[in-house]
């Protein structure tokens, strides 16, 4: 599992956000395009790409993309 690949999967979900915005430190909850519907897309992406099922608490506990990456990694 690689953080750059993880970020790339993120980029592909956000159609209207400049890809350069996405770094390990990005606070994804603050992005204009982020919503509870987008959260479901992220959970679906993680499930498909990493075979990990995230819960609502995981999504709210993660502040940055790297936080979420670490949660996914810990569940693999």
């Amino acid at each position: 599992m690689d953080i750059n690949d993880f970020i790339q999967h993120f980029v592909e979900l956000f159609d209207e956000t400049d890809p350069s915005v996405f770094t390990p430190e990005t606070v994804f909850h603050d992005l204009d395009e982020y919503s509870s519907l987008m959260a479901l897309s992220i959970m679906a992406m993680v499930n498909v790409e990493y075979d990990v099922t995230l819960k609502g608490n995981d999504m709210s506990a993660a502040v940055t993309i790297e936080d979420l990456y670490n949660i996914v990694k810990s569940k693999m």
């Binding site: 919503s35 509870s36 959260a39 479901l40 498909v48 099922t53 609502g56």
Partner: protein, 353 residues
């Protein structure tokens, strides 16, 4: 794990009643969410429109039952059991199934019972009805599943109303229905209407709007922890199907149709992908009817498979949701009768208590 195998009971036919009134989510979103607009909602959930009106569940089921009995040639005196599965019964008491016995003109020698279940309810109702019938003492039964009520716009743009009827007949040698059923009550509040039951009885405060996860709703409306329910659905459905097929040594990829609870499109697309199922074998009706709770599996079959169920067909169906609760069933049909959709208007004349 709760596995069941029930022999000698077949599904003879299915019908569905829905409100005639169509609510289009692109036109009537009513500032539902601060987070996203109507177009995003429709794109992400796959729910364009729903049927909603001032119609309780039983008023959708009764005309659907009359239509179905006509279509399959059943005499009302032959029906010996009614099971009514809903989370919107006519009254707190008596059981709605008792009222339906009279409304359909069924004989008094009739087993009638309500079951309080939601999205998994059709599978649970089917397991209960078929189990009652498997020794042949009850030979014809009607399973009614769905949800409808006096209109509440605060129930949100995901949910629609429907009442479905599944006609079950004792038929020796017709094969078996195979079930896997499960429950996780630790997440009882993942989908909940907080007020109106014995724990929190109705008060004026029950109708005061409050903000829950960015949405303004009152305590008599359904509230849902969407992410937790999503996580539950995408994980439990493939697991339950695999357990059922392993327990009964079935090849799940050989079925003719896979019908899942119509929760939302993203969830169902992911389930289909995880199980590697071809889209043409996975019918869906949520675009036009939304999430219709325990009606969603039979409503999908009635509206999407009309004209496609002649001869022998094999089905694998899974309902999952409020409880949390889930049920998977594998069954075969032979010349399954599917009635045309019954559209129902609000009954403003009958004087009910």
């Amino acid at each position: 794990m709760a596995f069941l195998e029930v022999r000698n009971v077949r599904i003879a036919g299915m019908s569905a009643g829905v409100p005639k009134r169509i609510v289009n989510n692109l036109e009537q979103f009513n500032d539902y969410s601060k987070e996203y607009d109507a177009a995003e909602f429709v794109e992400e959930t796959g729910v364009l429109e729903r049927r909603v009106d001032n119609i309780p569940t039983s008023d959708l089921c009764v005309p659907a039952a009359i239509k179905l009995m006509q279509d399959i040639g059943w005499d009302k005196d032959e029906v010996e059991a009614i099971l009514f599965v809903s989370q919107n019964a006519d009254y707190i008491l008596p059981a709605t199934a008792c009222i339906i016995q009279e409304r359909l003109g069924l004989k008094k020698e009739c087993y009638a019972m309500d079951i309080s279940m939601g999205c998994s309810g059709w599978v649970y109702g089917l397991s209960t009805a078929a189990s009652l019938m498997q020794n042949g003492t009850i030979r014809k039964a009607l399973l009614m599943c769905g949800d409808g009520k006096r209109r509440s716009e605060y129930d949100g743009p995901l949910f629609g109303f429907a009442g479905t009827v599944t006609a079950l007949a004792y038929d020796e040698g017709c094969g078996s229905m195979k079930f896997h059923l499960g429950t996780d009550g630790s997440s009882y509040d993942a989908i909940i209407i907080p007020d109106g039951g014995a724990r929190n009885q109705v008060t004026p405060r029950s109708f005061e709007l409050e903000e829950v996860n960015g949405k303004m709703i009152h305590r008599m409306a359904t509230r849902m922890k969407g992410m937790d329910v999503f996580a539950f659905g995408i994980s439990i459905v493939p697991k339950s199907i695999r357990k059922l097929t392993e327990r009964f040594q079935l090849d799940y990829q050989s079925c003719d149709y896979y019908v899942f609870h119509q929760a939302n499109m993203k969830m169902n697309d992911l389930i289909m992908k995880k199980l590697n199922l071809p889209v043409e074998k996975v019918p869906s009706c949520m675009y036009h009817f939304g999430n219709t709770s325990s009606a969603s599996i039979p409503l999908t079959i009635v509206t999407q498979l009309g004209g496609k169920c002649q001869g022998h067909k094999s089905f694998l169906c899974c309902g999952f949701g409020v409880g949390l609760s889930w049920g998977t069933v594998a069954f075969d049909t032979n010349d399954l009768v599917l009635s045309e959709l019954v559209e129902v208007e609000e009954d403003k004349e009958t004087k009910w208590v």
